[in-house]
Amino acid sequence: MEANDSTPLLEVCDLHKQFGDHVVLDGVSLSVLQGKIFSVLGPSGAGKSVFLKCLANILPPDGGTVAFDGRLLAAGDSAARRDFQSRTSFLFQNNALFDSLTALENTSLPLEQTTDLPDREIRERSLRALRELDIEKFAGHHPAQLSGGMQKRLALARAIVTRPELVFFDEPTAGLDPLRRNAVFAMIAKYQRQFGFTALIVTHDVVEALVASDRVALLDKGRICFEGTSMEFSESNLPVVGGFRDSASELRRSLEAIRSGEPFVYDEKIES
């Protein structure tokens, strides 16, 4: 696939989603350019995962449109949906690996069930994907026998084995320590360049996302309140961007205040 800097692969317009009275997405619009890494940042509970699941058709949006490669993904257009599914992959926060299958069987699964390739070719392609992610020697292992990092790589191997054009990453570093967070983002950047897919990542890891991404957006209270390059994000004067970006400085200020004997006041705005 040929990356084109100016071609939007995915266009989202005015996306709405609510659960009961709780509005999660309130008119989200953005464009993801082909061959780029696009990260959607936001605090926990901002609706990032819901946004990604609406795009991947796991959750039906209440309103708005999603277009993939110029083709509108309408609710009743099953042909467009099938085309979309065959050209995209989804990496789940918890990897969603089949624990009763080996690493090789997990990787083979999408090829076995969505293509008519002969068994031998499926095996070769699956082993190649495992080799490319440096886990070929664990082909016969079950996910439970692999470390967290290897499970993540196995999930990525399963996601790329069909050679997708767009890969969705749902909080790929959730629950990982800083070193592993760096490793996961480095892995995404490496394989994105190697295979040329477009990556859409939702995460709350600001530093790693800014380093690894071509463009970032900030999702807050159901709306995109910033979209631009990593540099523009770093230099933005928007209070909401500053609050999220400079959370470490805020923590430092709070700790200094506590050490100097001031009473601690929990910021309830974070929870709301």
């Binding site: 991947a56 058709n57 796991i58 992959s89 969603a96 699964l109 069930q113 969505t114 293509t115």
Partner: protein
Amino acid sequence: MASIIGMVRLLGQHTVRIISSFGDFALFTGASFRAVAGSRRLPRRIVRAVYEQGTLCLPVILIVGAFTGLVLGLQGYYVLNRFGSEGLLGALVSLSLVREMGPVLAALMLVGQAGSALAAELGIQRNSEQITALDTMGVSSHGYLVTPRLIAALFVFPFQTALFVAVGLWGGSLSGSLLLGVESGVYWASVEDAVRAADVRECFLKAATFGLLTISLCAYHGFHAHLCRTATGAQAVSASTTRAVVHSSIVILVADYVITSFLV
């Protein structure tokens, strides 16, 4: 007055929910059969399902079948002995097993082992987003997870029932002939005289129906573990597995009555 209206409203809500769940179940089963069309490498999955419902359940079928026959032989002998009709022991054991006890008990055993395992497996796969992952890959989760099990059940339940009946007849012979002195030839001749082709047809029809209904019910409950209203996470899997086994057991007995009343 307000409490009466509240009770009526509650009753109405429950009734609507039950009717709605019947509809959901019918749609679920229909979708699973429709998925045959788009399923790839289905025979391989069917073989795996036959192994789960067949090979893994063989011990329980053989043990329960043998002891059912042994007890039927004992009880039957003492009842028939009162009327001096011990010679009919084979007829009593065989008709009891072929027409009623074989299909019902074999199905109950299969639900206890294969059905509960299926509900729990699907519940865990739902909780860990494995089923959602299939959908995002463009793989029909019905076609991959449910369809092969339903097709396997249509063959495995009748086969296991036949095995249950065969072992039960041998158990009846053991207690009747070996322990209580009924002539072995008389026992088996009585079996041959009593069982007709229609009885065997009824037996297989019941077994296939029970298989289809119960495996579909267990899959339905596991598949929808995330919609459990009373629990979440591991407790939801536990609750849906319990519901799957209880509902399947009830359905076996209700379906048994309906089929029997039509065929007798």
